[in-house]
Structure formats: C-alpha cells, structure tokens
Amino acid sequence: MNEEFLNTLGSIIGTATPLVIASLGETITERAGVVNLSLDGSLALAAVTGFAAAWTAQEMGLLDVPMQLAAGIAAAMIIGALIALLVGFSSIKLRRDQVAVGFVLTLLAAELARFLGADYTRIPGPQITRWAIPILEDIPVIGTIFFQQNVLVYFSYFLMFAIWFWLFRTRGGLALRAIGERPEAAYARGAPVQRLRYWYTFLGGALVGLAGAAYSLNVKPGWSSPPAMQGDGWIALAIVIFGGWHPFRAVLGAYLFAALRAVSSNIQTNGLFIFGQEINFPFVLLNTLPWLLMIVTLLIVSGGLTERLLQYMPRGVQHRLRAFLRSDPPKALGTRFEAE
C-alpha cells in the first residue's frame, strides 16, 4: 500500500488520541450516572497547566526530560480530576443540577486557561516524542499505522481494552454500570453508590486532564490563545453519545472524526478534484464538514431513524442489529440518588 497514505492514517491516529482519551474518560463518568459537561474548559485548563508545569521544570533545570513531561502530565490530570470532583461534589453533596454546574465550569475553566496561559503563549517547551515499538512497528500496514506513535497513543489502546474489560467482564464493572442504570438496585446489593460516583467522576476527569496534556505536550505543542483544541471538548461529549457509552465504539467515533478533519484540511490545501476537474467552492465551509457529519451520524445512531431503517430488515436480523446499535444512555444519567 502507498507509504504516504499509511503515514496519513498513522497521523490521524495520533491526532485523534486526545479525543480518544477524553471520550473514554467521559464514558466511564457517564456510565456511573454523572454528566461532566465541563470537558471543553477542562481540556484547555489542563493543557495550559500541563504545559506550564513541564516548561517550568525545564526552565529551572529540574529533572530530566521524561520526568519534566511526566510532571506536566500529572499536573494536567490533577486539574482535570479537580474540576470533575467539583461537578461531582455539587451534584452529589450539594444536590445541584449537573448540567448547569458543568456548563458554568466549562466557561470558567476556559477563561481561566486564557488568563493563566497569557505568559506561556507561543513559547517552545518539552515535547513527547515518537517512540516506535520494536518488532510490532515492522508488521506491514498495521505497524506503520498503529505502532510508530508515542506513549500516549499506546496508552489509549490499553485504556480502551482495560475499560471494556472492566465494564463487561468484572464485578466492579457491573457495579459501575448498575449505579448509572438503577442506583436503587445497586444500593440494595450493597454498592456504595455515592462513593463510586465520586470515584468514577474523579477518574474520568483525570483522563480528560491527560487528554489536555496530550494537546499541549504532543499534538499541538505549546500553548496559544485561542487554544488549539477549542471545541474538542464538545466533540468528545458527542463522541460518547455516538459511541453508545461503549469504549470500542467511542474510539471508533474519535478516529472517524479525526479522519474527516484530515480530509477537509487536505482539500483546503490541495483543492478538490473530481475526474481531474477542479471543483471550486468556498473551502472555508469545509471546516464545518466534520461537525455536519457528526450531527448526521448522531441523528442516525440515536434518533428514530435507525428504528425506521430496521423495519425494512427481516425480523431475525432486526433483533441482533438493534442490540449492536443500542444507544440508550445509562438510565440514571444526570440524576441524583438518595438512599431511603
């Protein structure tokens, strides 16, 4: 296969990774019944914090480069987790509306990122570099696409399988799904509902923080204002829905979105040719293409359209297809739970 094409696919995987990690984090948070709507702001604040921490360590000559990066990542994860805990605390303890709190925190965190990031704008800092996995990188096609990446990308593969295994293969996963579906039933079976909700909100938030660091330390190194990842938090939230709260489908959604973005930016640089004929139209509109397609797929996956399409299938197939396309949100999503 064309080497250049494979490299493009590889770079799509790379640029999609922050989205992958963020939507996986939000998936487990929402599986526990909590909506953390602060993603867009959290990503920005985590990105600037991660960059600032790594850069400061570098400037002060502290630690070696990998440890500087690790410090940055840790700082970003703490910020992401703290914001998520705020959402958790205000909904679980203070009984406020999750959506309202998350939304306000989005705006707050985004503005805070701009303000705090003013001193770090457009300066070079430490970066996470590529590290191909020996042996695996030599596998034809797959090696080039998946195994000539950086550690964060490899971690995202691991994360996807780990979350899937936890959700569907362990008792802990049953408890996680149960507190998001029917907390009363989980409580009756001895699950500490509130504590688990805090924990998974915290964990999901830490992953969102990691995603933020993935932008400023790798995908779009450094910090700029407006931030490079602006809007991606919302996209990650949409991907969670697109993924039907399933880790594999969420990852697929993130890759799909990144691919669409790559296509549209490619057309903008090189022009669009159909049968050797250059097509001319306002290319700026192409920026909206991924969003537009996201909306359309969301409509298909989560709307009544699937049901209508399914009606034309034979009855036996219908049943299985519906199970595969299942996209019902966790039933207790966004609700409060109080033990009697």
Partner: protein, 500 residues
C-alpha cells in the same frame, strides 16, 4: 429462622407510620400482611428488610437482638425483600443481574453462575433465559429472578410486596407453588404484603392486619385445601375487610342506566409499534358505557388507548370520535370536543410536580391570556372540598399522598366529557379510595360519558366493565359474556389462554 419485632415505631413528620408494632413470624409459615394504603405495612417490611431504619424498637432473629442497617446487612442476616417493582437493572441480562450482588471474586465466572441459575430455576419450575436483557422480561419473570437471586444469597425470610400485581393467573400459580414449597417444605418464613384478599386467603397460613400504623389483629386462615368452599372464602373475606377498615363495606354495584349513541368507533384499527405485532382492533364505545381493557402490562392495550386519544401513531384502519373521523386530529383538538385522556403515571404525565394545586386548577381553567388568580383560588378550594382532597391550595402536588394525587387528577377532569380514556385509574389505591374514584367516574357515565380504561386489577375490570377486551401480545379478544366471567377465567385469558 424465627423473627420477632418488638415495639417498632416509625414516624414521618406528623404521621406515625408504625406505632408500637409487636409481632412474631415463625419458620415454615406464610404470613399475609394486610392493611389499606398508608396503614404502615410497607414501612414495617422496609424496616425488617433494612431499607429504612426504625425510630425505636428491636428485631430479634431466633431470640437474639440483631442490629443491622441497610438491605445488604439484612440479607446477610437472612432477610430479603422482593419489591413490587423488582430492584433489578433493566440494561443487564438475567445472568448479570443474578451475578451482581454476590460476593466472590473479581471476574464474573459466568459459566458457574449460569449453571447455578439454571439449577435453581428448574427447582421451582421457572423459565429464565440467562442471556435475555431484563427490559424484555415480564414482571413475573423478573420476580422469579429476584426470588432465585435472594435464595442464592442464603435468604431464610422472604418478603414479597404486592407480587400478584401485573401477572397472569398461570404465573401466579407458579409463584404460589414455589412459595408454598419454600415455606412448608424448606422452612422459610414467607411474608406477603398484599391488598388482594383472594390471594391472601389462597396462600397464607395466617394474617396480620395493620390500620393507621397500629397492629389491629392477627388471624389464622382456613386451611387451603379442597374444602375451601366459596362460603368460607366469602366469610373470611368479610372478616378481613372488617379488620382492615373497622367497618363493613358493602359491595359496590354498578348503577343501571341507558346506553346511548356511539361515541368512539374503531374499525380494523392497526396501531403502530416496533415490538408488538399489533392486530386490528374493531370496537364501539357508546355513551354511558364502560369498556375495560385487560392484559399484562405491554400487551398492546396501552398503545390502543393512546391511539384512540391520538397520542400514538396509527398504521391503518378507521377511527372516529363523536361522529367525525379523528385520524387526522390531534389530542388537543379531541380534548376540546370532549375526549379526555388520563395517564397512569400520575407525576410523570398526569400532573406536574412542582406546581401547586391552585396552579393545576389554573391550567384547566379557561384559555384567557391573564389568569384570574382570585377565582382560580376559589375553584381550587371548592375542588378540595368536593373531592375530599387532603391538602391545601398552596401545596405542591408531590407533597400529597398517592391517593390524594389521584383525587386531584379526577377532580381536574371536565364535568361533562364525552369520552374518558383512563390508564389504571385506581393504581396503588386501597379499596376505599378506589371505590370513591369509581363513584365519581360512574357519575360522569350517567351523564352520558363513555369510559375506556385498563387495569391490572381483574376484580376492578369485572366489577365495573360493561364489556371487556383482553389483550395478549398485540392480539385482542372480546370477552363473550362479562356477567358470566370469573376473575379466574379472566386471569387465564390475559395469559393467552382463550379456549375455556
């Protein structure tokens, strides 16, 4: 295992839900816990099963005082409760529900658990497919699963809250057989909370009756063998009713009146649904007539009622209301012409949580732009008076008890509707409140309204309906002669057995 409750007290604000309850339950016995709505029977069972702590009092298991909080601790002490709406997770499969709540190991060990599940269900003649999602199951199957799950956890006292609501006669037989075996052969304590007296007489060895939070009586039931004649049943029933209400209630009779012109006509009406294979429905409801729809929840009767009120899509057929085709009408248009739909979900669809009684009145008062609050206040006060609602104008609807909410809902109906389509009009109400609701409804019938209603209470259907349609998996059958139909026969019909 023997259980003793001593001096149990529980208060909710001003209400003394359990007032000094003292009672013993011995192993091998099936005990019915009886009482009208708000008598405190559910509260007592929740205390025993750990869902609520008692304010005062002690629980003794085999003569030792045991102190526990929370349902898991109760199960660890051998006491488990099957809720009316079984506490399972809809998105899980049968197997996952069975596994979840057990203790051992990190991974699921599905094969082992599946074998255990199969083993237990075979023992009681339950049919459970381990890989079905709970959402696809009938209530009866979800109960069976919950019972098996509790037994697997080593429960020796099994509490069941209204288990016979929404299940067919055959399913009830299977359930009762299993309960008899558990108590009489295996020595478990079985506690049955119910307000269906037939079930209690049929199943229980003894009953405990609560009224207004106080225990007012205990009684042994006649031995349920073949010698249980209808005379004995009737006499026992009368005794129980007297204990429950402190007075003798006369059996309510349908007043006789003229049946008038057709109000609603459906011809070969096919209602749209993705899951059920809905068969065409042909039905005429005449003025003054009460039509009951029987069927297990989700058999198509709810869809049909919603289609008649134009709240559900119709695939084909004809539908006319008051002489005009209403296929293209909206519910709003039908409502203006006198067709009223009352939803079963009181707080979800029928009333609006957060709004006060006055605000509810304002919603149904005339369509003027500005609300005349003074007159609305007056209307509300007169409604409260007329419908004997325990509440004030400024109370929000969720502050009222279920029975009073239902009274508000009925009170908000227009005085002279042409057609009332009512989902489970007396769901969750005690005998007394239910009768009162029906008095109000029948008054409207007498003035010329037709009523179409559904109910999971077969006695209610047989008592009030002029005609009954049975729904089963999307099919519908009219019961040939309602006056000659017994509750038992109807119970078999809703389970799909139309031959006898």
């Amino acid at each position: 295992m023997d259980i003793e409750l001593r001096n149990i007290h529980k208060r909710f604000g001003a209400i003394h839900a359990n007032n000094d309850i003292n009672v013993k339950f011995s192993h091998g016995r099936i005990v019915g816990i009886l009482g009208e709505n708000g008598a405190g029977k559910s509260t007592l069972m929740k205390i025993l099963s750990g869902f609520q702590p008692a304010d005062e009092g002690e629980i003794l298991i085999d003569n030792d005082i045991i102190d526990y909080t929370g349902p898991t601790a109760a199960i660890a002490n051998g006491i488990g409760m099957l809720q009316q709406d079984p506490l399972d997770v809809g998105a899980f499969t049968v197997l996952e529900n069975f596994i979840y709540g057990g203790v051992e190991g990190i991974t699921l060990k599905r094969a082992e658990a599946a074998a255990r599940l199969k083993d237990l269900s075979r023992r009681f003649g339950f049919e459970l497919d381990p890989f079905q999602p709970i959402d696809n199951l009938l209530i009866a199957q979800r109960q069976q699963l919950e019972i098996i799950r509790l037994l697997a956890l080593g429960v020796e006292t099994l509490i069941l809250d209204e288990p016979t609501t929404g299940i067919s006669a055959d399913q009830k037989d299977i359930l009762f057989d299993a309960l008899r075996r558990l108590a009489h052969d295996e020595g478990l304590v079985v506690l049955l909370v119910s307000h269906k007296l037939e079930d209690v007489i049929d199943l229980c060895d003894e009953v405990v009756v609560l009224r207004n939070g106080v225990m007012v009586g205990e009684m042994d039931m006649p031995v349920s063998d073949d010698n249980l004649t209808s005379a004995v049943i009737a006499e026992t029933k009368q005794q129980l009713v007297t204990m429950m209400f402190g007075e003798v209630l006369e059996a309510q009779q349908r007043p006789q009146y003229e049946i008038g012109a057709p109000v609603l006509i459906t011809e070969e009406l096919v209602v749209h649904d993705q899951r059920l294979d809905m068969q065409p429905i042909t039905l005429t409801a005449q003025s003054g007539e009460v039509i009951g729809l029987a069927g297990l929840g989700g058999s198509g009767q709810e869809l049909f009622m919603r289609a008649c009120a134009r709240l559900q899509r119709i695939d084909s057929g004809a539908l006319s209301f008051d002489g005009q085709s209403s296929l293209k009408s909206s519910y709003r248009q039908l409502f203006r012409r006198g067709c009223v739909f009352g939803a079963a979900g009181r707080l979800e669809e029928g009333l609006i949580a957060g709004l006060t009684l006055t605000e509810h009145s304002a919603l149904v008062s005339d369509d003027k732009l500005q609300i005349d609050w003074k007159s609305v206040e007056k209307q509300t006060a007169s409604r409260i008076d007329r419908y004997r609602i325990k509440g004030r104008n400024s109370d929000t609807i969720e502050q009222l008890s279920g029975g009073n909410q239902q009274r508000v809902l009925i009170g908000l109906l227009p005085d002279d509707p042409k057609l009332l389509i009512l989902e489970q009009p007396t769901r969750g109400l005690d005998v007394d409140s239910a009768r009162w609701i029906w008095t109000q409804l029948l008054e409207r019938c007498q003035r010329g309204a037709a009523i179409i209603f559904n109910s999971s209470d077969l006695e209610e259907l047989v008592t009030y309906s002029d005609r009954i349609f049975v729904f089963y998996a999307g099919q519908n059958h009219e019961v040939p002669d309602v006056n000659q139909t017994t509750i038992d026969e109807l119970g078999h019909m809703i389970g799909g057995d139309f031959n006898n």
